[in-house]
């Protein structure tokens, strides 16, 4: 592999810094609006790294779809619902959640890195039909409309379903539906379980 040039390295480290800082911003910002803005930062950093990796099309899509659409949607919902109050992140109601989370996440991180760096991965021959030619847009377009056609069609269906789902979920609720705030307890026939345990025998 050709050694990396200085500009490449610079781009990578700058991008990496943007990503990490943005990510930390997401999880540490008290205000959801700030978190969303930090997310934009991360997404932007990732787009930068995509370009670094010759995934130009994806970089563009990343900016348009993620930063342009998804984060805007986030911000819209935050504003719409008025939940832009600061959250108190200094306390944690669930006992042990944070330390355990820290340990688990550290373990995850460590094992991923260990596996990635130290394992001797066998890499088989890949499918030649989807080999890159250098023109990533053409390659991507060709593979999406040939090899992954069914998956592509399925995403269309998925999006339609998601839209319908969102419409149903976000529609105006009638007052009597609102009144049943507490969901009903499912009516499990009580004697099913109870009698099985009781061990009593009818004579």
């Amino acid at each position: 592999m050709i050694a990396a040039t200085i500009p490449d390295l610079a781009v990578f480290f700058v991008g990496a810094a943007i990503i990490v800082v943005g990510a930390l911003g997401v999880i540490l910002a008290k205000n959801p609006v700030h978190a969303a803005l930090s997310l934009v930062m991360t997404l932007f950093g990732i787009a930068v790294l995509f370009i670094e990796e010759q995934a130009n099309f994806l970089a563009a899509v990343q900016i348009i779809v993620y930063a342009g659409a998804i984060v805007v949607l986030f911000l819209f919902v935050i504003m719409f619902l008025g939940v832009d109050k600061a959250e108190d992140i200094t306390t944690e109601p669930i006992v042990g959640q944070r330390p355990i989370a820290a340990i688990v996440v550290a373990a995850l991180m460590a094992s991923i890195v260990a596996l990635g760096q130290l394992g001797h991965w066998m890499v088989g021959t890949h499918a030649s039909t989807t080999a890159t030619t250098g023109n990533d847009v053409a390659d991507l377009g060709r593979s999406v409309f040939t090899t992954y056609l069914f998956a592509f069609e399925a995403t269309a269906a998925l999006l339609v379903i998601a839209v319908v789902g969102a419409v149903v979920l976000a529609r105006r609720v009638s007052p009597d539906e609102l009144s049943t705030d507490e969901p009903e307890v499912a009516q499990v026939p009580e004697d099913l379980g109870a009698t099985m345990t009781a061990g009593e025998v009818e004579q």
């Binding site: 999880i27 991360t42 099309f57 890159t132």
Partner: protein, 101 residues
């Protein structure tokens, strides 16, 4: 010409971990969704990296689909948030424990 792919993978792992940690400690539903996005992006980064390593466009195609799925997920997720908020006037996950066993 290229940066060592391992660095990308380490960065991806780091980003994933941050996202996961955020998901585990934050209580605001919206922020949790953002953390999920972070994790998805970490995965995307890996896919693109592998795509480059193997010279196979399949990785990028997968990212493409992940984007679609992420979009759908956000749409439905935010729809859920709106619906919950209408009933409860807040969006704190720890209060949503009616599925307790």
């Amino acid at each position: 010409m290229s940066v060592n792919p391992s660095w990308f993978l380490i960065l991806s792992a780091l980003l994933f971990s941050i996202g996961a940690f955020g998901l585990l400690i934050r209580r605001n539903v919206l922020v949790m969704f953002m953390c999920v996005e972070l994790m998805l992006n970490a995965a995307n980064l890996s896919f693109v990296t592998f795509s480059r390593m193997l010279g196979d466009i399949g990785g990028q195609a997968t990212v493409f689909f992940v984007l679609v799925v992420a979009a759908a997920e956000v749409v439905v997720g935010l729809g859920l948030v709106v619906a919950i908020f209408r009933r409860r006037h807040h969006a704190v996950v720890d209060d949503l424990s009616s599925m307790k066993g």
